[in-house]
C-alpha cells in the first residue's frame, strides 16, 4: 500500500511536469561500462540537467528503477542516495554478461472540458474509464512512457532482450562494444515495432570544457535503424521522443528514450 502511494506520487510528479522533463535532459550515467574479473562494482549517477552528465539541476526520481541481470533475473541496487542534484546507487555485478539498468516511468492522463471548465486527470489505465465524467467533452487521453537507461558488461557482452514497451533501442552493435572511429547501428523500436523517420539526438558529455556542444542528429530509416560514427571517446547520451496525437478512441502517445553509452578509445 505504502509502495503504491509512493509510486503514484512519483508518477504524478513526472506527468505533472512535462515541460521540465522536456527542457532538461534525463541521464543515468555509469562509472564504468566494460569490466573484467570474477565480479565488479559499478556506481550510477541519475540526474536531470541541460548539460548531460553535469549534475546542476535536479536529482532523478528512481521509483521506476529496474535492473536486469544477464540471466534475466531482477537485481537490487545498493547504497541508494538522493542528493540535491543527483541520485546515486551502486550495483554489484555478480555474474558475467550484460546488465540493463533502466528507470521507466509510465502512466495515463486525460485533458477534458466539463461545464466550460478545463480539467486534467492522471492515473493508471484501469482507473481511466471511470475517472473521466460522462458529461466531459473535448477529451484527449494520453499514454506516457519514459525510459532512461544504460548498460554495463562484465566479461563478454550478452544479448539484450527488449521489453516491447515504449521506446527502446534494438542493438545491432552491442552498446558495450563501442570504439572511437567505428560506426554503431541501432534500431529505434516503439512497442516492439520499428519507429521510422524519428529524430535521434546524440550528445557527448563534457560540454563544460568545450564551446561547441558537438551534438549529432540522425533520422531513423524505414526499419527504425540509424548509425552513429563516434568522433571521440566519451560518454554519450542518446535521445528520442515520439509524440503521436490521439484521434477518436485512439489514445495519444508520448514516449521518450534516454540512453547512455560509453565509447572507448
Amino acid at each position: 500500500m505504502k509502495k503504491t502511494v509512493f509510486a503514484l506520487t512519483a508518477l504524478t510528479a513526472l506527468l505533472a511536469a512535462p515541460m521540465a522533463a522536456q527542457a532538461h535532459r534525463a541521464w543515468l550515467a555509469p562509472t564504468s561500462t566494460v569490466l573484467s574479473g570474477a565480479d565488479a562494482w559499478v556506481g550510477f549517477d541519475a540526474g536531470m540537467s541541460n548539460g548531460v552528465f553535469i549534475p546542476d539541476h535536479a536529482a532523478m526520481r528512481l521509483d521506476g528503477l529496474v535492473i536486469t541481470a544477464p540471466d534475466g533475473s531482477v537485481a537490487q541496487p545498493e547504497n541508494m542516495m538522493r542528493g540535491r542534484y543527483r541520485a546515486t546507487f551502486d550495483l554489484h555485478l555478480t555474474q558475467p554478461g550484460t546488465w540493463r539498468i533502466a528507470n521507466v516511468m509510465s502512466g495515463f492522463g486525460a485533458a477534458y472540458k466539463q461545464g466550460g471548465e478545463e480539467k486534467r486527470w492522471r492515473g493508471s489505465e484501469a482507473e481511466m474509464a471511470t475517472a473521466i465524467p460522462a458529461d466531459a467533452t473535448d477529451v484527449v487521453r494520453t499514454r506516457s512512457i519514459n525510459r532512461v537507461e544504460t548498460f554495463v558488461t562484465l566479461g563478454e557482452p550478452t544479448d539484450i532482450v527488449l521489453t516491447g514497451q515504449g521506446l527502446e533501442l534494438a542493438p545491432m552493435t552491442h552498446p558495450n562494444d563501442l570504439a572511437v572511429g567505428e560506426t554503431a547501428t541501432f534500431k529505434l523500436m516503439q512497442d516492439g515495432k520499428p519507429a521510422a523517420n524519428q529524430t535521434i539526438t546524440v550528445a557527448r558529455g563534457g560540454t563544460r570544457y568545450r564551446d561547441n556542444p558537438e551534438e549529432i542528429t540522425v533520422v531513423t530509416g524505414a526499419d527504425g535503424g540509424f548509425s552513429v560514427t563516434w568522433p571521440e571517446a566519451g560518454m554519450y547520451w542518446i535521445n528520442a521522443s515520439v509524440r503521436t496525437p490521439g484521434a477518436g478512441d485512439q489514445i495519444a502517445m508520448n514516449a521518450q528514450y534516454n540512453g547512455v553509452v560509453e565509447v572507448l578509445p
Binding site: V34, S36, G37, A40, G155, E156, A179, L264, P265
Partner: protein, 170 residues
C-alpha cells in the same frame, strides 16, 4: 587517438634451419625502463590478428596473478582495451601457456611452435602487442609478418613499448 600502426621494415631474410627448431615463431617485446615515481610493471597482451584486425590467437598475457587489497589481478585485464575487446573477454583466465606474471623492464621473448599455431592458415598476419600501465599510458604496436615462409618483422613503440620483433622460421 587511434591505434598506432607503425611502418615496418619487413626483411625476408631466411633464418638458418638450425636456429628455429624450438620455436617456429619468435617474438621479442621490449618493456622500456621509465622513470616514474610510481612505476608499476605494465599489463601486456601479445596476439596474432588478420590484416583486418580480427584477433586469431592470443600468445601471452602478463598480468598480476594474485589478489591484493585493491582486488584481483583479473579486475584490470579490461585496461588492455584492444585485446580485451577483440578476444580477451572471451577467454577464461588463466589460460595455460598464455597467462603469466607481469615482466620487469627489459627484452622478453614469446615463442610459439608450429604445433601451437596448427590452426593458423598460411598467409599475412600482424603480431600485436598492447601494454597498459597503472598510472601510466597504453600503447599498441603491430608488426606484420607472414606465416608459411621464413621472414622477420620489426616495429617500435614510443611510450609504453620499445622494440617489437617477429621472426618466423618456416
Amino acid at each position: 587517438m587511434h591505434l598506432r600502426s607503425l611502418t615496418i621494415a619487413l626483411a625476408a631474410t631466411g633464418l638458418t634451419a638450425g636456429a628455429a627448431q624450438a620455436a617456429d615463431l619468435t617474438a621479442t617485446v621490449e618493456i622500456p625502463r621509465l622513470s616514474s615515481a610510481s612505476y608499476h610493471r605494465p599489463y601486456v597482451a601479445v596476439w596474432i590478428e588478420t590484416p583486418d584486425q580480427t584477433a586469431v590467437q592470443t600468445l601471452a598475457v602478463w598480468y598480476q596473478q594474485t589478489a591484493n587489497s585493491e582486488g584481483d589481478g583479473t579486475d584490470w585485464l579490461k585496461d588492455l582495451r584492444t585485446w580485451w575487446r577483440k578476444g580477451g573477454r572471451a577467454l577464461r583466465m588463466p589460460v595455460d601457456g598464455v597467462s603469466g606474471a607481469t615482466r620487469a623492464p627489459g627484452r622478453h621473448t614469446v615463442t610459439a611452435s608450429a604445433a601451437r599455431l596448427r590452426t593458423l592458415p598460411a598467409g599475412q598476419y600482424n603480431l600485436v602487442v598492447e601494454a597498459a600501465r597503472e598510472l601510466g599510458g597504453r600503447e599498441v604496436v603491430r608488426v606484420p609478418f607472414r606465416w608459411g615462409a621464413a621472414n622477420t618483422g620489426r616495429a617500435a613503440g614510443t611510450t609504453e613499448l620499445g622494440a617489437v620483433t617477429v621472426a618466423v622460421s618456416r
